[in-house]
């Protein structure tokens, strides 16, 4: 498995548009934080400890029955390649810090990524398309079961899995769902909902980490508590809240549609026009338009655009990807031009190939 495939391969596992409630929940992610006994945590360890942790984790995984793990040391990857991994959500920005001795092991379909020497020694991450909390957890859990046989996990009878940050202690599990909530955002209901969810022990963020701004109306909902509750219960609580958000979003969409259909379709089609014909496309505008077109497809207003293309564009519109695709470093303005070209091309290619299919 070449690194090129990961970097330039068209669509990574979680971008495919399927799974339950995939019109609203774009992806589901489970992350398990684990550490090894006998080594200090990355915040305090030496380069030698880092090397040993890396070696143990990599050896265990590369010798497992699951074939096709690709192993990459962050320090050996060009910075653009690291950025692309971050933009695909396969590694965290923190891992790419070359001083961290970070590495990642990726499964062939990129569903699974195991980060080594991030904030914790090991972080098992599993991303599934759509709303699949149980499936994603079972997958991550099976990798964890395998690793616990090979590696001396730091575990305590009282505190559970020992992690560097006390906010992960216990299960070490962070479960999150990435949700597209345009109607709740347009109607400003999201501003009331976020504090309510926070009181239930969950966190809501914009899709790229902290901060309240949610580019493209995409929000990440995840559990805050990791101690005192079994994994299954945490997942059930999160599922419950996500289901309520989904129902809320659907209701708001219906209301929008019934109250202002013309104004709404006008807005959504204009956005389709922008991404289909723009010659300069800044990332903020691209994210906003993609959200509109996605909503248009979900509502049946926009018919001949494939959702998976939108998912792909959402990833490809980011700076790292654009430059990878261009094969060179680009200035901000060059990126906007390039982004516009890419969008036009992808949206056109798709309509053409559909036309071809109809002819056949």
């Amino acid at each position: 498995m070449s690194i090129d495939k990961f970097m330039r391969g068209a669509v990574t596992g979680w971008m495919a548009s399927h799974g339950e409630h995939s019109d609203i929940v774009m992806s589901t992610r489970i992350r398990l934080a684990r550490n090894l006994r006998g080594f200090r945590f990355p915040i305090a360890f030496t380069a030698e400890e880092a090397r040993q942790v890396d070696e143990q984790a990599a050896t265990a995984l590369l010798n497992s029955d699951e074939k096709g793990y690709a192993y990459m040391k962050m320090s050996e990857l060009p910075s653009l390649d690291r950025q692309v991994l971050v933009e695909k959500h396969l590694v965290s920005p923190q891992l790419t810090d070359p001083k961290r001795h970070g590495a990642v092991l990726l499964s062939e379909d990129e569903t699974l990524s195991i980060m080594v020497n991030e904030e914790d020694h090991i972080r098992i991450q599993c991303i599934y398309p759509g709303f699949q909390l149980e499936n994603a957890y079972e997958h991550a859990d099976s990798v964890d079961d395998y690793l616990e046989k090979k590696l001396p996990y730091a575990f305590d009878e009282d505190f559970g899995y020992l992690t560097s940050c006390p906010s992960n202690t216990g299960t070490g599990m962070r479960a999150s769902v990435m949700m597209h909530l345009p109607a709740l955002t347009i109607t400003k209901q999201i501003e009331r909902i976020i504090p309510a969810i926070t009181r239930l022990g969950m966190v809501v963020r914009g899709s790229y980490g902290e901060g309240s701004e949610a580019p493209g109306n995409i929000y990440q909902v995840s559990n805050q508590t990791t101690l005192g509750k079994p994994e299954k219960e945490i997942l059930a609580d999160l599922k419950n809240i996500a289901l309520r958000l989904i129902a809320h979003e659907r209701r708001s969409r219906e209301i929008l549609l019934s109250k202002s259909q013309v104004a709404l379709s006008n807005k959504l089609f204009r956005s389709l026009g922008i991404i289909s014909f723009a010659r300069l496309l800044p990332s903020g505008e691209a994210a906003r338009c993609l959200s509109d077109v996605r909503l248009g497809i979900d509502l049946g207003i926009i018919k001949d655009v494939d959702m998976s293309i939108l998912n792909e564009l959402m990833i490809f519109m980011q700076p790292g990807f654009l430059q990878q695709y261009a094969g060179s470093e680009l200035t901000a303005e060059e990126r906007d031009i390039f982004r516009a070209n890419l969008f036009r091309e992808r949206l056109k290619i798709e309509t053409q190939s559909e036309d071809n299919n109809k002819e056949n």
């Binding site: 305090a44 810090d97 001083k99 616990e148 305590d156 009878e157 505190f159 906010s167 216990g170 101690l227």
Partner: protein, 187 residues
């Protein structure tokens, strides 16, 4: 801004040092801050960071000024033998340095976890199979030891000897499992 020390990672902790010559301020990253002796948390950074959360809950007063003064007099607390982290430093940076920190600060942690995890202080989820086994072996050893003491008190010395052998065998088993925690000693 990058860290004053390594100039590689972004600075997230402000380190202030007061001396007769005045106050010096250094901006450090998490890692360098951890390695330095003393530091202050920057209250203007990430409004809801874990450090701030912990410092506010356990550092004393709510407002920043008196809060900083009270920190000066706050004792360092126990020091982790493995990574030299003191309890006070743990509250400052909001991170443990190694698995042993949990043992070092064990008595103080329920309060910290209670605030972070909605009142929960004890793990209720998955347990690694090896720990599960070890845990049950330890429990068994405890049970046999009680029986052994009973036997001794009732002067059934042969029974006691047999029980002792049983304990020793189980202990050997624990060592073989490589629990490494040094808690296998039931003597």
């Amino acid at each position: 801004m990058n860290c004053d020390n390594c100039n590689e990672r972004p600075a997230s902790v402000i380190f202030t040092q007061e001396s007769v010559n005045g106050t010096t301020e250094r901006h450090l990253c998490e890692k360098c801050a951890f390695q330095s002796q003393m530091f202050h948390f920057d209250p203007n950074q990430e409004p809801l960071s874990i450090q701030q959360f912990l410092s506010h809950w356990f550092g004393g007063s709510e407002s920043v000024q008196p809060f900083q003064q009270s920190r000066e007099s706050m004792p360092e607390g126990p020091t982790c033998p493995e990574c030299d982290l003191t309890f006070r430093k743990f509250l400052d940076i909001g991170k443990f340095g190694c698995p042993t920190c949990y043992d070092t600060f064990r008595e103080r942690l329920p309060r910290v976890f209670g605030k972070l995890h909605n009142g929960h202080t004890k793990h209720a989820g998955k347990i690694p199979v090896s720990f599960n086994k070890m845990f049950s072996v330890k429990k068994k050893i405890e049970e046999i030891r009680l029986k052994m003491q009973e036997a001794i008190q009732e002067e059934r010395f042969e029974d006691a000897a047999a029980l002792r052998d049983e304990v020793n065998e189980l202990k050997l088993h624990l060592v073989k499992e490589g629990n490494g925690g040094g808690e296998g000693n039931v003597d």
